[in-house]
Point group: C2
Chain length 390, copies 2
């Protein structure tokens, strides 16, 4: 397995590292950020804009595509790469995360431990999970085998084993039982993956175990003992930033460090710096493109007030007459051409272009951040550049 | 006046012609299509995408920008070119058309003689028109002088005299009175234009007169006798395609043909061919970008069923499994990368990218159409290529 994939660690110091993940659709220099193209499209952004802004990898969500248009439909169209016109590395998740978190509020609520409402999950047993389709309300069953088949149909380079994303508010007993079932599901995922392996894909195992050090360690060891290509740290990461990093550290303890390590659903700038310090290689989050749709532009610390957290809200009246670009030193087309005043106006006028222009900047911002992080490692300036970006 | 502007007719045969309009922001090869960036943005399309798809000129609407964010705000931002990041030729209309047609249904209803509902127009007298702002419901007054000042603030290369867009259902008596007032308003526009002329702008006069041959002739003569740089044919063009071209012909009769001639609000492919045969140089319409937002893609005759009129509706289920591009011979990025099946899926999934992808194609389609029309003139193949496009 994994003949067409390779992970090379090219630099290592104090636990943080640079590397290269080679896939059949190209390489990913790590640390890297993976942009969310949830429903086979990074919202409002074309594949050529992604490429022009230095994006190396995107992901799509199996849950969404399974419900509509169906993974088989995409297979019949030549697979997800061809269907959506993205020819670079791609990852699909297993669908588990959305089944267990959608309907509980935002998908981020789960990871971040916020309390949730009603669920789209109808039942869960040893076989898999039955849920209500977001698309047509119909009942759908996802099992480890079905998830792997769907991901095979989609054809992303990197796929993820099917697990239960245990809610934050579960007690330790449920978290342990859920983790053990996730381990059995991951084994079944791996078996199904191996059964149909044709060399085009590589699979991630997922570490669960909630906020409990012993469970996280057991889960990390489970994943490391099985022949996954890479590891993702999933499930709840606690209710605050400090706990988040404690939980990541717990999971890292038992992990095989020769494999790529992905931290699921985390995309805050400070969080990324903390994750990198712990040895995380890749991150994903809807954050950069989602905030763009609400007028949020990511800017470095010196381009915002100290009261603003990692981004500025362009809808605020303070930008009405601001003729400066989002960031004077950014090389994205939006910064080269548009002022904050114009973007403010577009948002007020409900003009579609605002969303695209800000998303293009935010994507370029994240890619420049990761470029800067990678180049700073060998210089030993990771802590210094954190001040610039956070 | 007009030292920085020039119109050269480079080819003339049987009444149709090629030419070049030179402006301070570059040249427009005619016949040309002018894309609508109503509120200082071609909906969902960035200025660099416009340039990449061969666009030579866009327009913005004074009515919309006057209400929000205000022409003075845009002046303070450095003018419309700088504000919206479009560095090529640009036209603004006078605001008159929207005052008299918005609230009557779509802005196109007026030209095309469809009956209308309530109006945003509150009153009209010799001074100008009082209307209700679409932005905040406040009362606003637009006069010839105010329109010219607003257009001066906006700073487009080409500006248009303020007129009343006489409704189709007016009787001849009202149409004549309205036309005469429009003539007085156009004279005042020209005086106000000359008073502040700094060489950066050139002004169009507008021919009114409804569907009445004698009135159209008088109006064309009025415009031709006054030192406008160019002429626009405005007002109602009747209730059907045949009448539309009859009315255009009436207006053309009395016109000074050494000036550029624009046909306001017309963008159907067959209509463009008919207009060109009568000697029209430029056209504008929201059509190509508006239909894109509803899933309508412009394709040449051989790429659609004979039942479809000039465009295909990608929402239709017949495109679900259609792996071909919108047009196999189109060089736009959407046609190079996306299939009809993917665009169909994006529309069904309400993904923003659909609108942008189809609009990019439609803009390129219109620009390729105009390129083909220009090159066919000297070959004498204008009638033959009409079969390809219509």
């Amino acid at each position: 397995m994994y003949d067409n994939f390779k992970f090379s660690i090219t630099f290592l110091r104090n636990g943080y590292r640079r590397g290269i993940i080679a896939t059949p659709h190209g390489i990913i220099e790590t640390p890297a950020f993976i942009f969310c193209g949830t429903k086979a499209s990074v919202k409002g952004i074309s594949p050529w804009q992604l490429a022009e802004t230095g994006t190396s990898i995107i992901l799509s969500n199996t849950y969404h595509l399974f419900a509509h248009p169906g993974s088989e439909h995409i297979k019949n169209r030549g697979g997800l790469h061809k269907f959506m016109g993205w020819n670079g590395p791609m990852l699909t998740d297993s669908g588990g995360f959305q089944i267990f978190s959608l309907g509980h509020g935002s998908v981020a609520d789960e990871i971040k431990g916020r309390r949730c409402g009603s669920s789209t999950l109808l039942s869960i047993d040893e076989d898999g999970a039955v849920f209500k389709s977001y698309w047509d309300g119909g009942k759908q069953l996802l099992t480890p085998e079905k998830s792997m088949q769907a991901q095979r149909d989609l054809g992303a380079d990197l796929v993820v084993a099917f697990d239960e994303c245990t809610p934050f508010h579960s007690d330790k007993k449920y978290t342990e039982q859920s983790m053990e079932r996730s381990h059995r599901w991951e084994k079944r995922s791996l078996e199904e993956f191996a059964r149909c392996d044709d060399g085009t894909q590589a699979i991630y195992g997922i570490v669960q175990g909630g906020v409990h050090a012993d469970l996280r360690k057991r889960s990390a060891e489970f994943v490391s003992e099985h022949p996954f290509f890479a590891t993702a740290i999933g499930g709840t990461l606690g209710s605050n930033k400090t706990q988040m990093m404690e939980v990541v550290e717990m999971a890292m303890n038992g992990l095989d460090k020769s494999r790529p390590i992905h931290l699921l659903g985390i995309g805050g700038i400070c969080d990324i710096f903390q994750g990198i310090a712990l040895g995380i290689d890749t991150f994903d989050c809807v954050h950069p493109t989602r905030i763009a749709r609400h007028g949020g532009a990511l800017v470095k610390a010196k381009y915002r007030d100290s009261s603003q957290r990692e981004h500025i809200n362009l809808k605020r009246s303070q930008y009405k007459n601001d003729d400066s670009p989002l960031e004077p030193d950014c090389d994205c087309p939006s910064c080269k051409i548009f002022s904050r005043a114009y973007l403010h106006y577009l948002l007020k006028a409900n003009e579609l272009l605002a969303l695209q222009a800000i998303a293009v900047h935010n994507i370029r911002f994240m890619n420049r951040l990761m470029e800067h992080i990678r180049s700073s490692m060998e210089n030993g300036t990771l802590n210094e550049i954190k001040e610039i970006w956070c």
